[in-house]
Structure formats: structure tokens, C-alpha cells
Symmetry: C2
Subunit: 312 residues, 2 copies
């Protein structure tokens, strides 16, 4: 057992699974999760932060294990009533889920930062690990497709990732400031590991990397940077990662992800199905990375932390 601090970079569903494992094996206060906010958008007048919400729901045990997104025991009366009066219904907002969007929007309008709002929510939901947006400034992922440029959620949800992807941009990233709590966590002398969760490298991790200062903070940290491949045997566990890689002219493989992270990471964790894959200049670790249940998540968290010599 070690007592150092851990930082995890995470997007939504896939990343949150490992974040939950880490949260369960680490002591309260050891883990800081830096969340992608490139997927954030304003919809129906509400500020929606999908990856932060997925982390909140997952770590609070409020996530829906069957649907795979949103809250458990959800109802959909709002959406039905909204459709009845001609509102936009392409982005599904559950009745319970709405509370977090309404409350966040209210607090932001009152002058709180996204960091403050997020910290208030995670404390209120009884989450021991810190959840920090990568920036309090707006960064918006946009996708260039064969149908032109689309805002991320229009590509991802409204068009169900159907258009072919040509390029990505993170609007606002160049002038965004790394959130103070993210910088503090990465600069903590007690930092023992930086983990890149098995999120989409292009859609979920690259926006975080695009925030000025993040890359420098990773390099300046003496702790090892450990990434977990979101690709297993050429397939994404969930979501459009493999499809998007192919459209970008990349071979969907763990090796390609390792290449993408070259120079950034020290260790690359791949699934047993990819035991023979090349991982560039990084150190390779092999283990079961598919997380179907809580035991799997805790197991992968232990595997990843074990890289640094921890036994948890």
C-alpha cells in the first residue's frame, strides 16, 4: 500500500469504469479525476457536461447499468411533454438527470465556476474522489465530416456517429486555462501515478491534452503516465472509437493508440488479447482490461496501480 496521490484523465463511459475502480481501491482524497469537457454543450438553455455527469453518476452508484448512460430508475416524462409542445427531443434528458443540468446552469449563471459546481455536486453525492473539469473555460469539440463541420453532440447523438469523420478540432482550447485544481493535482509532490483511462483518445483524451499547460504538467510530473488501451483486439468496447480511427485512415488497434500517445506515456496497458502488440517506446503491461462488472473495474485499477509498485 502506498499513500501517494493519483490523477486520472477520463472521458465518459469507458473512462468512468476505471475511475470507479480507482475510487474503490484508493483512500478518500487520493484520487483526482480530470474530466473532458469538450463534449459539453448548451441545449434547451441548459449547460450539459456529459462526461462529468457520467463520472458523477458512476461514482455515486446512480448510473444505469443496463442502458449504459444516464441515471438508473430514470423516467422520461419531460421528454414526452417537450415533444408534445414541439421542443427539440433528439438529445434524451431523463427526468432525474435534468436536475443536475438545471442546478449546474443556475449556479454557473450565479457566477460559480464549473470546478466549484462540480465539486459541490460530487460532495453532495457522497463521492470521495475529486472530479475536476479540465478547464473552467469553454472548450468545444467539433467534428469535420463528409457532411461538413458538426458540433460534437450533433455528430455523436443527433447523427449517431454516422457521418464519416475527417478531422477534429477543440474550439477554445488554445485560450482555455487548465483548471486550478487540475494543475494543483498534477503538481502535487505526492503524485505517484497519472492514469489515462481507456477513453476515446481522439474525442475524450485529446481535448484534455489540448488545454495549454496540461502537457507541460504531465511532463513536469515525476510520476509515471500510464495509459490503458480503449481498443481490444481491434475493437472498441463501446462507442465510435474504432469506426472513427478507420475513417481517419488509422488502423484500429492498441498499437495505433500507443503510437498516438508516444512521448506522453511511460506505460501502456493492453488486454491479454493484444499481448503481442507493439507499444512504441512505452513499457507494455498486459492484463484483463474488459470491465463488465465492479470486480473487473477494481481488478484493472489494481493492475494499473501495480505498475508503480503499489499493492492495493
Amino acid at each position: 500500500m502506498k499513500t501517494g496521490k493519483v490523477v486520472a484523465l477520463s472521458g465518459g463511459i469507458g473512462g468512468a469504469k476505471l475511475a470507479l475502480g480507482l475510487d474503490r481501491v484508493l483512500a478518500p482524497g487520493q484520487l483526482t479525476i480530470i474530466a473532458n469537457t469538450g463534449d459539453d454543450f448548451r441545449h434547451l438553455g441548459l449547460h450539459i457536461s456529459p462526461d462529468i455527469d457520467t463520472l458523477l453518476y458512476t461514482l455515486a452508484g446512480l448510473d444505469d447499468p443496463v442502458r449504459g448512460w444516464g441515471r438508473r430508475d430514470e423516467t422520461w416524462n419531460f421528454m414526452q411533454a417537450l415533444g408534445q409542445i414541439g421542443g427539440e427531443t433528439w438529445f434524451q434528458l431523463g427526468d432525474g438527470d435534468l436536475a443536475i443540468h438545471v442546478e449546474r446552469t443556475r449556479r454557473l449563471a450565479g457566477g460559480e465556476t464549473l470546478s466549484e459546481v462540480t465539486d459541490g455536486l460530487r460532495r453532495r453525492l457522497g463521492i470521495a474522489s475529486a472530479i475536476v473539469p479540465m478547464s473552467d473555460d469553454p472548450v468545444r469539440t467539433r467534428v469535420e465530416t463528409d457532411e461538413g463541420w458538426l458540433d460534437f453532440q450533433h455528430y455523436f447523438v443527433r447523427r449517431r456517429c454516422e457521418p464519416r469523420v475527417r478531422a477534429l478540432e477543440f474550439a477554445g482550447a488554445a485560450t482555455a486555462r487548465l483548471a486550478a485544481n487540475a494543475l494543483a493535482a498534477l503538481s502535487d509532490p505526492a503524485l505517484a501515478a497519472i492514469i489515462i483511462c481507456p477513453s476515446n483518445p481522439y474525442l475524450s483524451v485529446d481535448p484534455i491534452r489540448a488545454v495549454p499547460g496540461l502537457r507541460e504538467a504531465l511532463h513536469a510530473a515525476s510520476a509515471p503516465v500510464i495509459a490503458v488501451s480503449p481498443i481490444i483486439a481491434g475493437q472498441a468496447v463501446k462507442g465510435p472509437t474504432a469506426k472513427m480511427m478507420a475513417e481517419l485512415g488509422l488502423m484500429p488497434s492498441a498499437a495505433t493508440v500507443a503510437e498516438h500517445y508516444a512521448g506522453l506515456i511511460d506505460v501502456f496497458v493492453v488486454d491479454e488479447a493484444d499481448a503481442e502488440t507493439g507499444v512504441g517506446g512505452a513499457e507494455k503491461r498486459v492484463g484483463p482490461t474488459l470491465m463488465r462488472n465492479l470486480d473487473d473495474k477494481i481488478g484493472l485499477a489494481r493492475l494499473v496501480l501495480g505498475v508503480t509498485g503499489w499493492t492495493v
Copy 2:
């Protein structure tokens, strides 16, 4: 049967009952309901128009007949989740009900007027009668109580009308402009009747009367102004009317309401229980005014319209 136009001034629950009766007995396009917006407020970042919503739900058949407010078949997942994250829960917003507040707030932020938004909603909900806010400018009812000045919903909902009322004010009324469609309806040469619904005279009708131009438009109209007493045998059918009248030093009676409307109305309709009451200088009509079901509402609508010689 006559083919003229009818204008009704209405607050929430009580007024909406007669408005529904009028809507049912008049032809599409004959009725314009001018709604009180003094109860409107901003809550959780949302623009809430309680009286307009009550009219929309009632005329669309979406109202909850048991609870007496809000939508039927309502769920409360949002409120529960909001409480879980520490949000304000004193004003109950049902999951389905939220749709109208979110959509209205979004459209207002996009530059539409409250009149435009309301007209869009009532058309979408299949309501044949026009529903027009008294003004597109903010008018906010405030209540001076033995606990000091309270915003209306804080008095009405949060404090459940418990503080003793000393005075009322309609902040913003002096500079508010009568909504264009309200003025047009009152100036229509085909106007045959102006009906003041059995709403709270002080909380629901006075704010409408306080909008500059409304009083003049009523006087200028050749159509008779017909008010229905919200007080039956000294009691309000619902709500704080009688309690508030007593606190204002007024006898809770139909006669007091008639006195309050003196100079404004031509005809005052009282319940059979008040057949012997004085109604000042107005012409008195007596009939059953308690509306427990749709037949009662249609019956009262016929009674009121009958004043002008209509048979409907």
C-alpha cells in the same frame, strides 16, 4: 347564438374553470383569455408563468383533476434528484410540467415575446381559444406581510399564505405595456362581452387592471363587463381570497368584491347562496357558480354569456 367576440380576464385555477367552460361553448376564435402574469417568476433559472400554464393545461385537458394544479399523470423524479444535490425544492415542478418552463425560457432567451411563446404553446396543445399574457413586460406581484415584503410565490407557495397580508404591489406595472393582442381583442368592434372570471380580485385581477391602458380599453369597449364572484357565501372556493380579505380589513363577501369592481363592471354574477346580496351599482345576476365538473363550467359559461342575450 351570437357570433361576436369574447374577452375573459383570468388568473389561475378558479378563472381557468370558467375559461374552459367558455372555450367549450364558443366557436374556435371567438374567445381571447387575458392571463395574469403577476404571479410569474424566475426559479432555478426558468421562467415560470403559473396562471398561463394553468390555463394551457386546463384548456388542453392536461390538468390534474385530483391535485387541482399541474399536469395529470405527473411524476416527480426531477424534484427528488434536485433535493439529492441540494437544490431548492420548495416550489414543486413535475417532470412533465418542466417541459413548458424549459421551452418557454429557451424561446424567451431567443428573443420571442411571452405573447408569441404562449400562442405557440396553446396552438401546439390544440387549444382553439387565444391565451394572451396581460403584458410582455415583467409585472411582479409582491405582498407586504407581517414578516415584511415577500415575492408572490414566496408568500403563496413557500410560506403557504400563512403570513398576514397588509398590502399588495405590482412591481413594474406602471411601465408595463398592455400586450398587443390583449389590446386588439379589447378593441375589436365585434367584441360582445368582457368577462372577469371568478379569480382572486386582489391577486389575479388587480395585476391585470394595473397595466396601463387596460382600464381605458375596458371603458372604451361597448361590450358589457361581467364579473363572476369568486366568493360564495363568504367563502373562497379555493385559495386564500377570503383569508386575505379579512387580513386587509374587508368582509369576505360577494358584496365586497362587487364594491371592489365598482365603476368597472356592468353586471355581477353571484351564486344562489348570495341571491340577496347587494352588488352596488352593477346589475345582479344569480345562478349556480360553483364549478365541480365540466357541466358546471359550461353551465356558468352559458349563464354569463346569457347576460348579453346569447343562447349557447
